[in-house]
């Protein structure tokens, strides 16, 4: 996987008050904000809405076997790490769609069509796995989540978001 230095035009702006926002996420948010030139606040209310969507997805997968034989319930620690992951996203990030993997991980998806898609999985150990498509490029890897948005995932998010 290669990492681009070309900022996308996105409605993001760094906000130091963003909960759990690490230096790399701040750097990405600055790049987004610089490229776009205006702000869209990713308020605490917005985060609550996103977390409510996460909770609804998890409720469906709250018992063993929820998706048939051999499927695991959503892992409580994976849910907590996912909430922290949401908090690590810079201001203005569009909301992902949520799924629960049959093995208990939380899946976040950003899909903008035409091979602009990123899937992120958060597991109970705080390992964040991802797979992305951007045109002819594709990549996948796993990185530890330590409270700040992992840079490879930030770079993939930059790629898949459509230019405005």
């Amino acid at each position: 996987m290669t990492v681009t230095d070309d900022p996308r035009s996105l409605p993001f702006q760094a906000r130091d008050s963003t909960p759990g926002m690490g230096s790399e996420a701040k750097d990405l948010a600055r790049r987004f904000g610089r490229a776009h030139g205006h702000s869209t606040a990713y308020s605490n209310a917005s985060r609550l809405i996103v977390k409510r969507a996460l909770a609804e997805a998890c409720e469906r997968a709250s018992v063993e076997g929820w998706a048939g034989p051999g499927t695991s319930a959503a892992e409580p620690m994976a849910i907590l790490y996912s909430e922290d992951f949401i908090d690590s996203l810079p201001s203005g990030f569009p909301s992902p769609e949520f799924s629960i993997a049959p093995t208990g991980e939380i899946i976040l998806e950003w899909d903008y069509g035409n091979r602009r898609v990123l899937l992120v999985s958060v597991d109970r150990d705080g390992v964040v796995s991802y797979a992305g498509r951007f045109g002819i490029e594709k990549g996948h890897a796993a990185v530890p989540f330590r409270g700040a948005l992992p840079r490879p995932i930030g770079e993939w998010l930059l790629r898949v978001f459509p230019k405005r």
């Binding site: 997805a57 469906r60 018992v63 076997g65 929820w66 998706a67 048939g68 034989p69 051999g70 499927t71 695991s72 769609e97 799924s99 993997a101 049959p102 093995t103 991980e105 899946i107 998806e109 899909d111 069509g113 091979r115 898609v117 899937l119 999985s121 597991d123 390992v127 796995s129 991802y130 797979a131 498509r133 594709k138 996948h140 890897a141 796993a142």
Partner: protein
Amino acid sequence: MLVSHFLEQDEIKRNGDFKPAALLPSRTLRTSVFRTDDVAEARIWEIADAEVVAKRTDRVISIHGRAEMRDSAISAAGLALDPRIPEREAHADIIGWPAEVDERLDRALAIREAGAYLRLRA
């Protein structure tokens, strides 16, 4: 061979596609599908109700669509089809899923790219 993975409402996206995560495997690294070659459309949904909905004991579910794909799309993603599960009529499994989660995500995307399509229930 044509196979279908049945989908609940929240596995269908707002943009009219299905979520690739719906194809991810269970703990046994198998994804349940049904052989739908030469099966009439109405019969496919009967299979969904009999083999998926009726056998769910943890909650009441309904099937709103299916991800339909050829076995060639599965093999193009580096996976395979175990075509006959003796105890379950018309049942098959997608097998060959890797152990690493990021690779599974990649394979799920690859199946969709290789030709897996959402069919909504009328």
